[in-house]
Amino acid sequence: MKEVKVEVIGPEPECMRCQAAKKAVEKAAEKLKQAGIMVNIEKINIMSKGTVQKYGVLVSPAIAINNTVKIMGRVPKPDEVEKLIVEAAK
């Protein structure tokens, strides 16, 4: 079983588009469970010192997979997230 860490980066409290992004990730994660990939979803605050130190200034919503920001400022489709996670798991 492979593990992939996915961080959904957005403001606190969550904005509408960040919720949509999170849902896309959750949907992808559910599908991947059957394929044997464990997805750990974390919600992190775009405006915390830690986030900016790690990734720099981001446009929300952003999605980082295994500590690399792959998507920024848009809401992806679940199957796009799925593809990215599968790639990261290889």
Partner: protein, 349 residues
């Protein structure tokens, strides 16, 4: 191969739609066909009270639908295709670059209000300093693409252009002044205390194929429309009544001239109105049968945006209230100065 053709066709269909929308707008321009409502106060007063909003809304949408469609489509496209990574990569590299980014790119990224305050915080944490952060904050709502497109279409392109220039100047001045004040420096030190250069290597943006990006752009335009149109329609209903019953003499007495600029600048700020409604309201108050009664006062009114309460409160949670008070005062003074200046220069105070 087949997948490729499918994608190309999809992209082609969406592009064709965009071209039609842009074409319709250009066509309406060539035909010199009014995109704004044409009812006159006397006509409006002839209807029963309950019918005025309906008549006005019908009047507006029968003319303005192309303009709205154009604005939301273009806003979605620009937002999707503007390179957002540039901010991540260069914000914080130097002060001058920080200011340039805050002025040049920020307006494109903040059509959605939920990105504004987080970006402000991000800029501070990234070590770009309080100056660029404030410049960004003031520039963003004043000159976001939707606001500019609608100002241009509903009021005049001249006013839209002046608005960009004036907002940029005020935003830059406010940023520079605040970065020199002791309280501005205090906030900056607090955030920079143990700042580390942001690691650019950890960002590898994945770009989906063209057809998906185009579709996402239209979807985002639709999302914006859904967010904004309810307020916009409410604004139009109010404007319908204003146009019918607010006598021209009152506007000429109180809302033109130097006093008018002052009053407009005071009303335009705290009176919290979502950006686009401010444009419709401004039109309802100052534009009578296609003539702007006072360009100066209207500019002041439109520039009142950055110091409304809701924004100020959100920002004061990050920066101290002294910083907020300073930028509110500078923004207000800026709106008065440019209102007067533009009014005098254009001969329409």
């Amino acid at each position: 191969m087949e997948e490729k053709t499918k994608r190309a066709i999809r992209a082609g269909v969406i592009l064709a739609f965009v071209i039609v929308v842009v074409g319709l707008l250009i066509y309406s321009r060539i035909q010199a066909y009014s995109l704004a409502p044409t009812s006159t106060p006397i006509e409006l007063r002839g209807y029963p009270l309950w019918a005025i909003p309906l008549v006005y809304l019908y009047d507006y949408f029968s003319h303005g639908t192309i303009c709205l469609l154009f604005a939301f489509t273009v806003a979605g496209l620009i937002y999707e295709f503007v390179p957002k990574e540039v901010i991540t990569k260069y914000m914080g590299s130097s002060r001058a670059v920080g200011y340039a980014l805050a002025l040049g790119i920020a307006p494109f990224l903040t059509v959605c209000s939920c990105t504004m305050v987080p970006l402000f915080g991000g800029i501070l944490y990234a070590g770009a300093g309080i100056g660029p952060a404030i410049t960004f904050l003031l520039m963003a709502p004043a000159s976001n693409i939707l606001a500019i497109l609608l100002t241009g279409e509903l009021i005049s392109w001249e006013l839209a252009g002046v608005r960009i220039l004036a907002s940029a100047t005020v935003a830059l001045v406010a940023g520079i002044i605040i970065s020199k004040t002791p309280w501005g420096k205090a906030v900056e030190n607090e955030y920079q205390g143990n700042s580390v250069a942001p690691a650019a290597a950890k960002v590898e943006i994945v770009k989906p194929p063209l057809d998906e990006r185009l579709w996402a752009a239209l979807k985002f335009g639709g999302y914006l429309a859904k967010q904004i149109l309810p307020y916009f329609i409410l604004g139009l209903i109010i404007v319908g009544y204003l146009e019918a019953f607010l006598p021209e003499e009152i506007i000429k007495t109180y809302l033109t001239g130097a006093g008018g600029v002052l009053l407009a600048s005071v009303l335009g700020g705290p009176l919290y109105t979502p950006t686009l409604v401010e444009i419709v309201l401004g039109r309802g108050i100052w534009v009578r049968e296609g003539v702007i009664l006072s360009k100066g006062a209207l500019l002041s009114w439109l520039m009142g945006q950055p110091y409304d309460f809701a924004n100020a409160i959100a920002v004061s949670r990050i920066a101290r209230w002294k910083v907020v008070a300073t930028y509110v005062i500078i923004a207000w003074a800026g709106s008065v100065t440019f209102g007067l200046l533009y009014g005098l220069l254009s001969g329409s105070l």
